[in-house]
Amino acid sequence: MLSCKKATRLVSQGLDRRLPFGQRVALRVHLAICDGCTNFKKQTEFLRRAVARLGNPAAEP
């Protein structure tokens, strides 16, 4: 069983590369039962959307 600490590392790596099959499955099982890590995952995905829009020329005065 994956710990939350390990799960957060896999969530982060999953944003940067395709995880090996075993890790992907272990992470999915963990996320299905862990609200904390699920929130963490949503927040890292939100960070991606936010930082992509940072300094967007069209949004500046």
């Binding site: 710990s3 590392r9 982060s12 590369r17 929130n39 927040q43 939100f46 959307r49």
Partner: protein, 181 residues
């Protein structure tokens, strides 16, 4: 010509802020912007038909920023995930679980949110912030970041992990927590 020059010159402060956020070094930012303005003035013809001067200049500046990072980064600091050890118990479970952020995307419409995000980015150590901005803002993949920063993929993932952990905490404290649920 003079008109074009003054229009370009008016974008200087915007470009400086943009470069400063990513390079975290006022001198390097100044240099990158200077190179951008020179390149822009030399290449006025290529702007023809493109609507937005600022978008065009920002595009040039992104390349200058990557060049500057490449020049500046020869060594990387030792990477460790241990600083977030305190967030977990000895079995690796959250001591305090992240709670859901209420409608985070609504924040993307607010200027004040981006000011808070910038402040959080400023607090990251330089190398971490550079790796993170290369990944999430400039859209480079891990291989490219490794090459630019001369680090291993594992090191790169550790830097990105630390950036995400720190930014999540910072936004939780300074924005989503402060805003109320």
């Amino acid at each position: 010509m003079d008109d074009f020059r003054s229009r370009v010159e008016r974008e200087r402060s915007y470009l400086l802020r943009y470069a400063g956020l990513q390079l975290r070094d006022p001198h390097a930012a100044e240099d990158a912007v200077q190179e951008t303005l020179l390149a822009a003035l030399a290449g006025e013809a290529t702007l023809q038909g493109r609507a937005n001067l600022r978008t065009w200049l920002t595009g040039i500046l992104k390349h200058k920023i990557i060049d500057a990072i490449r020049r500046a980064s020869r060594e990387a600091p030792s990477a460790s995930e241990d600083e977030f050890e305190a967030l977990f118990d000895e079995r690796g479970h959250w001591l305090e679980m992240p709670s859901a952020w209420a409608d985070p995307d609504a924040s993307l419409e607010q200027k004040r949110f981006f000011a808070a995000l910038e402040a959080c980015l400023q607090r990251l150590p330089q190398k971490i912030s550079q790796a993170f901005m290369m990944r999430e803002h400039l859209g480079l993949d891990t291989d490219e970041i490794c090459k630019e920063l001369a680090i291993t993929p594992t090191h790169c993932w550790v830097l990105l992990y630390r950036a995400r952990m720190a930014l999540r905490e910072c936004l939780e404290k300074d924005w989503f927590g402060a805003k109320g649920k």
